[in-house]
Assembly symmetry: C2
Homo-oligomer: 287 residues x 2
């Protein structure tokens, strides 16, 4: 236990008892309670800047690109013409940054409930908050649930970049949320939601996918590698109103030049296909 010294932050959560990840802190940049949650930003010795909400790591400068690229490009590249996109959550700006890169996206609407997260990200996490500068984006501070009730058949793609399902975010993993998103989609629309890890909570993955399947004629679970999330693996439930969609066949292929121009560090067309290939214990649990 000699590494457990001062200046180390330890993440622990009831969702994954018995194991914790800790990182060494160079400087506490921010530590305040917002209206909704405790918001912390750290500068660290090995992960760059780190955003923590209610004690849970949301993103680190070292590996956030894997999460942001995959939650954005998987659904965008499953859609034939993703012109108008809604982002629910994503207050750090990282998903907006990625969505804005896609050549077919014309308009992005984002609804984040916590203005403090946006403000703090703009100040301390500019590498993600740069997403807020996109001329394609209209940013609302408010409740995504309420927003969608007033917007029907409006979006091609809805991406839900939520925190984990404890506290207020629980509702974003339930069937009525998928029903609400469905009503806000245009024909052939696609949704993509953060849906947890198969290693620590395969029941959550199973139930979220099941809720999605009840509302959408096609649904799948895809995943990526994010070292600083519990288990190092996190996935997404994707649903489509197009029953003939083939999630593992991207509708658009990017060349190496495209990848460079868009600064894609994780996503490529082969990674897209592989994201839907499930380990045996997951494949049969989810089928």
């Amino acid at each position: 236990m000699d590494t457990l010294k001062k200046n180390w932050f330890t993440e622990a959560c009831e969702l994954w008892p018995g194991g914790t990840f800790s990182f060494e802190v160079k400087e506490v940049l921010y530590n305040e309670r917002s209206e909704y949650q405790n918001v912390q930003v750290f500068d660290t010795t090995s992960l760059g800047r780190v955003l923590v909400l209610d004690g849970i790591i949301q993103c680190t400068q070292k590996d956030e690109f894997s999460y942001q690229e995959m939650i954005s490009f998987l659904p965008l590249c499953c859609h034939k013409n993703p012109e108008k996109v809604l982002i629910v959550g994503g207050g750090d700006g990282g998903v907006a940054r990625e969505v804005a890169k896609h050549p077919k996206v014309k308009e992005i609407v984002q609804v984040e409930i916590d203005a403090k997260v946006i403000e703090v990200s703009k100040k301390y996490l500019p590498f993600m908050a740069v997403g807020f500068d996109s001329p394609k984006l209209t940013l609302h501070v408010g409740d995504g649930f309420e927003f969608m009730k007033n917007h029907s058949q409006e979006f091609d793609v809805i991406i839900t970049d939520s925190s984990d399902p404890i506290g207020p975010a629980v509702s974003l993993f339930q069937e009525n949320y998928f029903s609400l998103m469905k009503s806000a989609l245009k024909p052939n629309g696609i949704v993509c939601s953060q849906a947890g890890t198969v290693w620590n909570d395969i029941e959550l993955v199973t139930s979220t996918l099941s809720h999605c399947k009840k509302q959408f004629p096609a649904a799948a679970y895809g995943y990526t590698s994010v070292p600083t999330y519990p288990s190092g693996q996190i996935g997404f439930v994707i649903g489509s109103l197009d029953k003939d969609v083939e999630f593992d066949k991207p509708t658009i292929s990017f060349t190496r030049e495209d990848e460079k121009a868009m600064n894609l560090r994780y996503y490529n067309s082969e990674v897209h296909k592989a994201a839907f290939v499930l380990p045996t214990f997951v494949k049969y649990q989810l089928s």
Copy 2:
């Protein structure tokens, strides 16, 4: 820091400074120094039994199947007829357990340097040490390097299940080790070595692959997800004397019935192909 209490074991290593993983210990089952290293076995609240060597997690009951299946079946299923297999290291028995399952494998030779690891695994980790019971296996206690010097052109596949490259294991990541393995292989033989994670040490992955490429006409890096290893991702360098090998096209496909009969929980033919699909930042670093 309130989770950092008694009965938690913390893994920390110079290979990944600034971040640590900790787990809650129910019982310390074994804690002694062998001739080569410190050997610990814990019973834990969330990971089952855990083997730790020199302070580094080697395997946990929760997720060891991913590592053992992938380091074994990736090379075995790249070879057309893997009849005779050498395992270097792997003193817990997990790799032997997997290799013995492959229908074409007739004979397994294993060389593990530390008799204490074998003994402790048989006593406390029977779910892996069951591998030692295979009638296909001949187990030697000794130095894999020395063993191979006396066995030329003898094996179809050589699997190196080593600890991380600090201390004695450093030599297993260098070019002369790949040269030695090459001499111990039959024509068209294949090697597969634990080769680290792209997230924490892409230089190690790059250099190990480079050493392999200098000795083998075909080489690749494949990877899998192991939550309790640093970054949750670990990979393997695979080299083949068959210059026409296609690593991402398994030579044998298993049916669902095969998978069940062999108790394959991670590996399947689609996972095999996907294991060689690299994230963009890795693809161009390794090419």
